[in-house]
């Protein structure tokens, strides 16, 4: 069988897994929506959640698509399509592919034509990330039980603890933005983008509160994110990044 990283069978395999994941999402969505109605959440609120999340997702999804395009140059389309639609992320898959290729003593500069190299890469990608799927069922009850204990003991501290978790995550990403400033003005671009996004979000907040534009709440995050991305595309050529 002549190997081709873009063969029909590989597309069919990838599509099967992706359809399965969509089915899982639909299943949990319908369940949550029904349960939401039962416990008295306004269906309008749930619909708002769907619309605003869908809009927010478009830009990050396009950026994931860019990752698929990058990887497809070496691995054909089906494998990157599968990996980045399900559990993976470009930051995982590219090092996994590179690490495996170097085990064969080759570099990833053109499309893989040896089926053994290809299948080894597929194995490393799969084995590299699958434990996440085992940790969740293994630990989820313990983690939630621990949280419940803390909350029952001291409700206020429980809330502060959750907020601290979020802020820890946000801080790590805000800090990362400062990583490149030593390379000169171009290294400041991510900081300018961050500040611009924060500014747009702040303006949205004022409009929502002071001008009573409640509807804007749904769109505030996508607006500030897309606005800042456009801002990045405008200032980068000016600064010369």
């Amino acid at each position: 069988m002549k190997f081709n990283p873009n063969s029909t069978i590989l597309f069919v395999l990838a599509a099967a897994v992706i359809v399965f994941v969509i089915a899982q999402s639909v299943f949990f969505m319908v369940r949550a929506y029904r349960h939401g109605k039962e416990i008295g959440i306004d269906p309008a609120q749930m619909k708002k959640t769907i619309v605003s999340t869908a809009i927010f997702t478009v830009a990050p999804a396009l950026s994931i698509l860019l990752g698929v395009i990058t990887l497809s140059k070496f691995l054909g389309l089906p494998l990157p399509w599968l990996r980045l639609s399900v559990i993976g992320a470009i930051t995982y898959e590219l090092p996994a592919a590179t690490s495996t290729a170097s085990a064969f003593g080759i570099s990833l500069s053109e499309t893989v034509s040896d089926p053994k190299v290809y299948s080894a890469i597929a194995w490393v990608m799969t084995l590299g990330i699958f434990p996440g799927l085992i940790w969740v069922p293994l630990f989820i009850k313990k983690i939630q039980g621990g949280l419940m204990k803390i909350k029952n003991k001291d409700g206020k501290w429980g809330d502060i603890l959750m907020t601290s978790l979020f802020l820890g995550m946000i801080s790590a990403f805000l800090g990362m933005v400062f990583a490149d400033i030593r390379i000169g003005l171009a290294g400041w671009i991510p900081i300018f983008v961050l500040l611009f996004s924060a500014l747009v979000m702040g303006i949205c907040g004022i409009l929502i509160k002071k001008c009573n534009m409640k509807w804007l709440e749904t769109y505030a995050l996508p607006i500030s994110m897309l606005g800042a991305m456009i801002f990045a595309a405008v200032i980068t050529p000016l600064i010369g990044g």
């Binding site: 969509i22 959640t49 396009l62 995982y92 495996t100 085990a103 630990f139 601290s164």
Partner: protein
Amino acid sequence: MKKSYEEMSHIYGRIWILSALGMIFAYPIVTCIYYGAWPGWKPVLTGLLGVAPIYWTVGLIEVLTFVPMLGTSSSYLAFVTGNLTSLKVPAALNAMENAKVKPGSEEGEVISTIAVATSSIVTTVIIALGVALLVPLTPILDSPIVKPAFDNILPALFGGLAVVYVSKNWKIAIAPLVFMIVLFLLVPSLSSSVGVLVPVGALIAIGAARIMYKKGRL
């Protein structure tokens, strides 16, 4: 007795997540059988050695950090669909914030699940469309005009998100923020392993919050 929503979420979640595991392994297995191309242990283990120690640790850390934020059903779903830090977790947080429900509450559980599910479906559909339309789309997405926009997607996302959370909880935010900014200024190369730093930031925030809480400053 009828099992509660929460208990059923665990049962369904396990069925789905373990089936997903089987599906994901099917790809390399079928590829090997179909092409008669088993790569042998050595290259796989060598390749794995380069990435697994970090990925397995980050995977465990992600479960510990994100499960409390996401809730039950959305955890089972989000860990299958991936892209947690850059997409699913911010989507869930933003949705709960807008709906004014708390993570960990019953309402939070519902809203977070709807957000993660929507985000997963939209992402999968966009990527599928993109793969189908790859030839006309590649020059647009790859163009130098658009590139800086996508290069800066994380600051664009976290800037807006930070305003909402930091402004409300600036006292808790100061310590982890200062730590992270100083750390990245001193060791810029850490940006490739930001995933490992998320729990570090969380621990600093929790420590600082605990001290202020004990002193009655929060």
